[in-house]
């Protein structure tokens, strides 16, 4: 455990050198909800299939999913900063396992994601009258934690193996485009063409957002939630194993 906390301490010290960035991390999902969400709420008629008449309520889970996805990609990008500083290889000689290195890197950022989710959900309730299910907050918190970690592990595989900053940026752009838009993040899947729906249903972002939607505002198929929970858990474990294997490959 000592090694794990040493990584967390280091990450926290580095992040603390830029408090403005942490502040932005915490408030930007709310900004997204207030600008993009409110904009759409006034201009687009939500399908009755969504189960909600208010786009703000529907979009809240999408914003939380997007935020954890963003924190995960930023955290994975720190591998490149470590490489540029030369410390990446030195750290791999420290008395920590590869698993501890990965977990330590994401733990502090998971904490930021939790604060971010708490602030967003609370202000969505206060400012936008989103009908939040406070009793399900533990499920929301669990999904924010696992979601941020899962996406970080996936990104870490690319960040470790690709080694080139510009190539990694291309990967993140593609993942953002494909995973975020082919999912239930921005719109309900029911009215969409069958092929689109099939792709979206196989997308772990959809699983994460569906669970968050059920947990925060009670929308969605209750029977599907346990399946999606298991699916996202398996995805996270596979991504973690992949990231550890990537760190163990020849550096």
């Amino acid at each position: 455990m000592q090694g794990l906390w040493a990584v967390v301490y280091r990450e926290a010290r580095i992040r603390a050198t830029n408090v403005l960035f942490i502040f932005w991390d915490v408030v930007y999902p709310l900004g997204y909800l207030l600008v993009f969400g409110v904009g759409l709420n006034y201009t687009v008629q939500l399908s009755s299939a969504a189960g909600a008449t208010d786009y703000n309520a529907f979009f809240l889970a999408g914003v939380l999913g997007m935020a954890s996805f963003g924190i995960a990609s930023n955290t994975a990008w720190s591998f490149f900063m470590d490489r540029d500083n030369g410390i990446y290889f030195e750290m791999l000689t420290y008395p920590i396992s590869r698993s501890q290195y990965l977990l330590g890197k994401v733990l502090f950022n998971v904490l930021v994601a939790l604060v971010q989710a708490g602030v967003t959900v609370w202000l969505a309730d206060v400012l936008l009258d989103v009908p939040v299910h406070w009793s399900r907050m533990p499920l929301t918190a669990a999904m924010v934690i696992v979601g941020t970690a899962g996406w970080f592990f996936l990104y870490a595989i690319f960040a470790v193996l690709i080694r080139r900053n510009d190539a990694f940026n291309t990967v993140t752009s593609v993942l953002y485009f494909v995973l975020l838009f082919a999912s239930s993040m921005f719109y309900p899947l029911e009215p969409l063409p069958a092929a689109f729906r099939a792709v979206a249903l196989a997308n772990p972002i959809t699983w994460q957002v569906d669970i968050l939607r059920y947990a925060t505002v009670g929308l969605g198929d209750r029977a599907l939630v346990p399946l999606e929970l298991v699916g996202f858990g398996v995805f996270t474990l596979l991504a973690f194993a992949g990231a550890v294997a990537a760190l163990r490959t020849d550096t």
């Binding site: 000592q2 090694g3 906390w5 040493a6 990584v7 301490y9 280091r10 010290r13 580095i14 050198t17 830029n18 500083n85 030369g86 410390i87 290889f89 030195e90 791999l92 000689t93 420290y94 008395p95 920590i96 396992s97 163990r248 020849d250 550096t251």
Partner: protein, 323 residues
């Protein structure tokens, strides 16, 4: 008899990259390092030194062979190996956004230091490396030499039995280099095993108890400095300082086919492989070209040994061993 600090047997490391033929970076290397010694791994660029060090520090897995560090196998027990070592890698390595103090504290935490012990050790090391007045400055605001100083200072924060240093003196001024060499000697006397690679052969000559010269991934020679110099019996370093460098001296010296030749200001430096009597005749002959103010003739340096053994492909299978 106690087991060696490092035991390498038939180490092979092959790099395979798509579209190119495999590269045998290390090719059947075997050696042991005695605990508490300063061991130098020397060789020209691409000889396999850094790859060997990367295997020893668990950064790279061997293709075949057995490597034990402090009694632990680098493949079977990498984490145990990492608990026994502190490493200065070849490139500059520091958290640039953190202060000097935070870099040292963070490193100490990885090795289990905490509380008052950590604070005291950080303070002592900063004093030792003249870093105290820069303690709260971010490393990104320091010069390259200072960054390297922070990097090397880290290994003195902890008491791991083995220290690896890959080209540690890069970018250091001579005074700092001397200070660190003295510190490394002290660490060795205290029982720590120091393994270093360097291109600065004078460093190896001054520091190392035991030297392994490698080329093309294999051992070329092994022994202490004096033993290695015997491999270059009949090599002499000649330095002639003229009042003013005489015209034509360069071509006259080149005609003697020296192992190496260098002109610095009004001084001509040569390394010659010949018998002693003939070397003195050559000195006389070169001195007759002008007014000589100073003459030095000495036996082979480690640099001569290095050039003699690694230039071209003078690779003796299994290498030469002199203990």
């Amino acid at each position: 008899m106690s087991s060696p600090a490092i035991d390498v047997q038939d180490l092979v490391k092959v790099f395979r990259r798509r579209g190119t033929s495999p590269t045998r970076a290390v090719d059947g290397l075997s050696f042991t390092v005695t605990g508490g010694s300063i061991f130098g791994l020397l060789g020209p660029n691409g000889a396999g030194k850094t790859t060997t060090l990367r295997v020893l520090t668990t950064l790279t897995r061997p293709t075949s062979g057995h490597v034990r560090v402090a009694g632990y196998d680098v493949v079977a027990s990498p984490l145990e190996v990492r608990r026994q070592i502190a490493v200065v890698i070849q490139e500059h390595a520091a958290d640039l956004l953190l202060s000097v103090r935070d870099n040292l504290v963070s490193f100490g935490r990885f090795h289990g230091l905490s509380g008052a012990d950590l604070r005291a050790t950080t303070g002592r090391v900063m004093e030792q490396f003249n870093l105290a007045e820069h303690a709260d400055r971010k490393v990104q605001d320091l010069s390259g030499g200072f960054r390297r100083r922070v990097q090397v200072a880290k290994v003195l924060m902890v008491r791991t039995p083995i220290v690896f240093l890959d080209e540690f003196s890069t970018g250091m001024d001579p005074i700092l280099k001397r200070m660190i060499m003295a510190a490394l000697r002290d660490e060795s006397r205290a029982g720590r095993t120091i393994v270093l690679t360097t291109q600065a052969l004078t460093e190896a000559e001054e520091l190392c108890d035991d030297i392994l010269i490698m080329n093309h991934g294999r051992q070329v020679a092994r022994g202490d400095v004096h033993a290695l110099k015997l491999l270059c019996g009949g090599v002499y370093d000649v330095a002639l300082t003229f009042e003013t460098l005489p015209p034509g001296i360069e071509s006259a010296a080149a005609a003697l086919r020296p192992i190496r030749m260098r002109i610095m200001g009004s001084t001509l430096q040569l390394a010659l492989k010949d018998d002693e009597r003939h070397v003195l005749e050559v000195v006389n002959q070169l001195a007759s070209h002008g007014h000589v103010s100073h003459v030095e003739v000495s036996g082979a340096s480690l640099e001569d040994v290095f050039v003699e053994l690694t230039a071209g492909d003078k690779l003796a299978t299994g290498g030469k061993r002199l203990d």
